[in-house]
Symmetry: D2
Subunit: 256 residues, 4 copies
């Protein structure tokens, strides 16, 4: 019995990763983000793919004080000896509510082309999707933002880059058309948010929707470094975690 | 009362991260790995710093089947709806045993220069550290590898790159000298492993040893994308997680 | 602004938890499992509720070598300094696949009574649920088991106890009737598994279905103590985690 | 090759756990906490052991709003579909800072008896330990509390119960003597905290210090049920997690 994998193999003087020699082909030649691409596609990205992917993951990396990054800081407060726990705790908050839409958008688009792609054009497809969702009571993912209204500046930038690098493919076009029709129906502009845009562009990079979210999670892990670093800089007593904890202690009302 | 942070701020049409405008200065201009640098140092890396950092994180990203990546696969088997849990579970195994040495090496070197840096040269410093560790019964971190003997190919490559890019500073020189003297004492070549080399180079990039490990953890998160992607490709029934589980079930002997 | 909570309050010489004095009313008077009940219902369980709850949680506590407990052991191998990480990693595998059904059963039953409870009797209700699920393509939760066929001995035991203690209420009766009709339809006996039985009994204990799974997760955390203890007893080299890791290393075939 | 375990085995109509028949010997006969005892000692606890253990774990179960329970609530806010993630995130904050002392106390006591137990009486042992710790610059674990001064009501209660049930053994006596001498030296009463008392009593129950903390972690998992339940009761918008998040958003000052 054998566990078969494309991931890697080590011998005393060489390490192979997805068919590449780690020291000859990868270290010094590709970026960290490209390792995720390599994992998902078993080949190095082209230069444009690498640029696009780095742009997407830089866009999604840092979200300031979110439930997720606050959990990281609080966990660091209780377990400073275990930085990996602080990062892990932060990732655990990246559930359906904040990051889920990236996967849902990619899924919606990829499945639409799989199911109807040969029969309908983009306009018709957009209309079909909007109607299907409405009938089944499902929300359209990727729309709306509490702060960035009527436009998410990341969306604008990312679509600009994807245009330049050749990734403004059918998935992005479909999402934009869904957005256009949806706003028309609503009679007002709803933000096409960054998470939505990223889902569409990743679909155009031919990344399977089921893997999409793991890219976002990895990017978040990179972003959480900043939060741990800032807690260390502030020092335990003045850390955000400790201050928050103090604030809660002073403002809790027991109703027992 | 205010929570003060350098991390970021969002207004409707702009996002600021560490003093930069996210869409103008960062997206499309820097790599994902640079976001971790930005978090730790509050400035964008230079081109050489970015190259060096990407090389380090690519080197540490993928480790094949380790307890950590197997936990990710097993967790994915039980909770495929929660990719972030699979990544988090994998990170939790990145404790003192496998990744700790990166931080310990950086700590050993940075503290040595802080304490004795002005009085002694590299040779003397190396000797002092070896003796201090020996007396207190503490191991020297960063040495030894189960597979890569007598040389870790990643160490060779990374020191080559750090030489080219201008990061072969005093910390790397001190670690190499400790290594030289240590092997001399032992009368044989002990591997200076990649984790050790990375700790030294990060120290030469002036990254605080307390933050060093969080970079490694973030890199692992990126590496775990490949493991989730491969489980998805194999399909549930033929996934490594499922196969492993089957194997265990068939080979367990109950001694109740 | 105040954070209002029923959970607890500490003053120098007293601790209040859900309206009780911790040292006078709880320590020495109630069991650990009762603390979860207290959390969900803001009152101490009656003697029968405590017996029932302990029986349910004992039944679900230990599952031998599952993806979840193996993750705990592998995490312990990499991070023995952080026992909480090992437990957390184990819990993360308790997703929809293995434990989800407990919540889904409770939800199915509680919602059925909420929606149709006044109009139909148990037989009619069971038939409605089976039909609704069939039409919408949703599986019936709580049925089937890979080992325990045609009967799950825990189900038999738990329903026996719930009968004795007075918890064989409408939810359990409805689940049993769904089971009866479902088997009749299939023309063979499908196991009513323990997870299903527990979901029904917890519904009869009037525990909200949205809280049900957190009881199971807590019980699993208790069960994981045994796995950490056994790894410690075996010693690192002979631990299951290490043996498994060795086996994988020897049986991996790289297809790069 | 075989994985040998005392934990359990399932056959179609029976489940064995640590040598017991789960449905005949355990379900309905023992409490949830006893399952942890069974895991650590491979035998059911006596009635007194069960009472003692439940008292200890009830005492440590709930800590109100701590970094740990707040992480659970914040994680639930981001990933309500994954209750196990919320519990896991909460456990990850149970590191060296808040719970570590339980293990350190048990370790200090068990090692003291192992090393010096035959030569010295309790008074001498206490003095040796205090001096050793002072010389090596190590803190004495188990002393001090921010709120419960000069006495921790849980300590008083737990020692009272351990006295009644026959667990006031040499470990507890040694800790009390260390406490007496330590306060005498300091010239004032320092709290002997609950975590310290529990470490000593668990040592007297002959639970290996390396397993002690996993009991505490399991107990916390049970305690976190209350926090998830309360978030559900409050409803998303009024949940503590959401309120806290709002507060932080409004009170963050960006210094970019």
């Amino acid at each position: 019995m054998e566990f078969q994998t494309k991931i890697g193999k080590s011998i005393p003087d060489k390490i192979y990763v997805h068919g590449y020699n780690l020291t000859e082909d990868l270290i010094g030649n590709i970026t960290l983000a490209d390792m995720a691409f390599l994992g998902a596609k078993h080949r190095k990205p082209t230069e444009n793919e690498s640029k696009m992917l780095n742009a997407l993951l830089v866009a999604i990396c840092e979200h300031g004080f979110t439930p997720s990054s606050i959990s990281t800081r609080l966990t660091y407060l209780g377990a400073p000896e275990s930085v990996q726990s602080a990062v892990a705790a932060g990732l655990l908050g990246a559930g359906t509510v904040y990051l889920g839409a990236m996967e849902y958008v990619a899924e919606m688009l990829q499945k639409a082309f799989q199911k109807y792609g040969e029969e309908y054009d983009i306009k018709e497809l957009a209309s079909i999707i909007i109607n299907e969702r409405q009938e089944s009571g499902q929300q359209l993912p990727g729309f709306g933002h509490p702060v960035h209204k009527p436009e998410d500046p990341r969306t604008t930038k990312l679509f600009e880059i994807s245009e330049q690098l050749g990734f403004n493919g059918k998935n992005s076009q479909l999402l934009k058309e869904i957005h256009r029709q949806f706003c028309e129906k609503k009679g007002k502009t709803i933000t096409l948010n960054a998470v939505g845009a990223i889902g569409a562009i990743m679909a155009d990079m031919e990344i399977d929707y089921r893997v999409v979210k793991s890219f976002a999670v990895a990017s978040r892990a990179v972003g959480l470094v900043a939060h741990i670093a800032e807690e260390i800089e502030h020092g335990r007593k003045d850390s955000i975690g400790q201050q928050l904890f103090n604030y809660i202690e002073e403002h809790t009302e027991y109703q027992g």
